[in-house]
Symmetry: C2
Amino acid sequence: MAEESGRQTTAIQPRRDQDFPEWYQQVIRAADMAENSPVRGCMVIKPWGWSIWERIRDYLDFRIKATGHENAYFPLFLPLSYLEKEASHVEGFAKECAVVTHHRLEFKDGKLVPVAELEEPLVIRPTSETVIGEAFSRWVNSWRDLPLKINQWANVVRWEMRPRIFLRTTEFLWQEGHTAHATEEEAWQEAKLMLEEYRKLMEDVMAMPVIIGSKSPGERFPGAVDTMSLECMTQDRKAIQAGTSHYLGQNFSKAFQIRFNTPDGKMEYAYTTSWGATTRLLGAMIMVHGDDNGLCLPPKIAPYHVVIIPVLTKAERNEAVLRAAQKLKAELEARSFDGSPVRVHIDGRDIRAGEKGWMWVKKGVPLRIELGPRDIETESCVVTVRDDPQLAKTVMPHTQLVRTIEEMLADFQERLFQKAWAFREQHIHTDISSFDEMKAFFTPKNEEKPEIHGGFVKAKWCGDQKTEELLKEMKVTIRSIPIQQSGTQGRCIITGQPATIDAIFAKSY
Amino acid sequence: MAEESGRQTTAIQPRRDQDFPEWYQQVIRAADMAENSPVRGCMVIKPWGWSIWERIRDYLDFRIKATGHENAYFPLFLPLSYLEKEASHVEGFAKECAVVTHHRLEFKDGKLVPVAELEEPLVIRPTSETVIGEAFSRWVNSWRDLPLKINQWANVVRWEMRPRIFLRTTEFLWQEGHTAHATEEEAWQEAKLMLEEYRKLMEDVMAMPVIIGSKSPGERFPGAVDTMSLECMTQDRKAIQAGTSHYLGQNFSKAFQIRFNTPDGKMEYAYTTSWGATTRLLGAMIMVHGDDNGLCLPPKIAPYHVVIIPVLTKAERNEAVLRAAQKLKAELEARSFDGSPVRVHIDGRDIRAGEKGWMWVKKGVPLRIELGPRDIETESCVVTVRDDPQLAKTVMPHTQLVRTIEEMLADFQERLFQKAWAFREQHIHTDISSFDEMKAFFTPKNEEKPEIHGGFVKAKWCGDQKTEELLKEMKVTIRSIPIQQSGTQGRCIITGQPATIDAIFAKSY
């Protein structure tokens, strides 16, 4: 390991610039966040990964409730007949549906086989617009029943041919919000409100800058009138769709008969929305903030802000060191960050301090503090800040650490955001003006062993859905039509025709 | 409704004594807790039911963490080959497994059909010993890796032929703890520790007295060495198994090769446990505490402790009433109960106060407060306590209400427990001494329209598994071999042979 050998090496092999996808896998392994399960395409989320997810979930759950939504829970199974009701919805999801066809197992010739075939096969929910639409059709009768604003935390299944842990797994976890409204305007406002809530989560809590905007027709959610998304840039300059909010118009209310009596006695179809954020956020966070030493956690979602590593030597000295560690922990926990007490963990395991130190580096804890027999005498400690590439050690009096801990964590949070912001801005290109130039931009110099290349191209687009097909050969898609539009005239980067729409083109996960 | 008609009627029809199973369904409907989904055997948990489940979940999650467990998440799917590894486990669950056989849908002749058959079918987890056992076999290598104490919150599927909402649903939600230990003794302690945590949840939080003990061999979890359970008595005098904790010995560690190096270099199999509590707790709570006016919530898990109903009359008066309601709410919220602020809701909807009042009665909120124009003048309010069968109204000064709110809620919590305790004690019979007597005891007088009958029979049992078969004709099982044993000699109630074991016999949900 770097510190011990003295050589300029890194905890994660390969480095980001050597093989980004493999680096990503190794960070997850080194941080002990999750693992690929032998169950095809599925993952096991291990305690460290889960405790980060819990923080994301708890924050988002709080905001979902604060904005007037209620949690509920709907069945895992969808009858085939539900899926069939919305034509583009079924078309969008049919290819990736896990289907339950039997409800019993029996041994036949010593082999366990499915028996008791179902009359109507059941699909495991890839998303719940249909089963929730069916419920809403019963719950909504009058304008007094609206708006209906429901959220559920659930697992969903979309059969993945090329799974990638956190980013694309056959089973994943998410929240899905589903709302019904009396007017188009109110439903639009809802979809935008939740987009803004996701922006706050991603930028203000997870320190990941996002571009918010609408999807092009080719990238829309199956059944939506408009899909809005939040796109991050990874350190290999690709886009990750980190959350979506859909305005569904009356598509699902017509498919499921979600109708209401207006105050003047007419029957009208409701306007619905849906919006979701998933465990993929963990993958985005790794790809945005991780470095060649492993995970790097924004303090607001770090399970621990500070890990104290007592340097244990001889039994007679250890007691004093452990006592000092406990005292420092208590003093730090009496301080608060982001509205709750600073989270401190003492790693008192009887293994070498260096080994413990590297473990917490790889797990991404913002501050690591070493405390040895000599430090107690001077009432100081050795502090390492996780986002320093050199992991430089600073000696600091306990009093100073305690007094400035909140500021140190706030600065850390802000630095992560600023660094990711600067990186993204550096790799948004606005000077690419022809299709050929764009093609060159997105083509690696070395096809055998592609280096990190590309970025986001911000260019004009004519809005013609057919042009999206032409992007496929360079494995690029329109990621976003940003909400902030310049309003200027220009020429479509694909067709050369006059165009006004500003669009973001990129490769994506 | 009762209050309005003046007649001695009840909010729930039928009453408990008329048709208990139907009363149960009607309470759930009246409280708007959940509904049967058109998806066979599955339920929709509606916001009121969900918010109660959240409180149970949050309490239990806190205790699970406080006792040194970590949360994680494992796949929804089990390969058939996993299930086959533990013989009695597969035998126990094979009959109720939902099986995924295809991973794609296609339209054929205008009909959606499953295509892309899986090489190995996948089972939707009925419980996760197998998939977690497989992971543990990789995670555990040395004695240093033990104990391994993991919990997950998840949905599971057991195909139910006779579903009953909350109590037996094809899909249900639960937590399942899974631990591995170096010694038999430590694993036993763990299983007992979690049994005690469940007891605290059920008795101290949900106010439901439980009998804790071991299951007889015929009722054991498939693959367990010992299953311990917590059994409540419903108001129709049946048993509900409200939680279980299993000592699994080395059965699963041998099936999945969960082995570790001991400090002296030997390889040994770990000892494992598992324990779970489910959404069935909501059903148990209804059947233990509900009455003929609906749900009755123990304050510790009530989403609201107090609902204030402003009596709205004329616009010019309403403002003052609503202001007084807000003030009272703020004063009550400044008080605490069970370690957190009193939870108060103002129902300011523009509908009749009587209608609002009955809604909250049926939803089981502990205290209902009416506040009208005359009450403000006297700075008093009208208080109704949910567990009073007459729902009598008491006029009370605001100051008194605020001063005594914590005591009122604590008393309410205690009353519910004492009432359920007294009911149960009244219906535990220790004087039934022969098989024929027991048969008569468990036989309704009127088979056509069975009245509430029976109860728990506490009697001696010889311990012979074959005798359990003989109980089937009276639809009775051994519910528990209580941990507290008298140690006396007697005769087995089934065989008449000498016996020492005290056992609880009952019908059950």
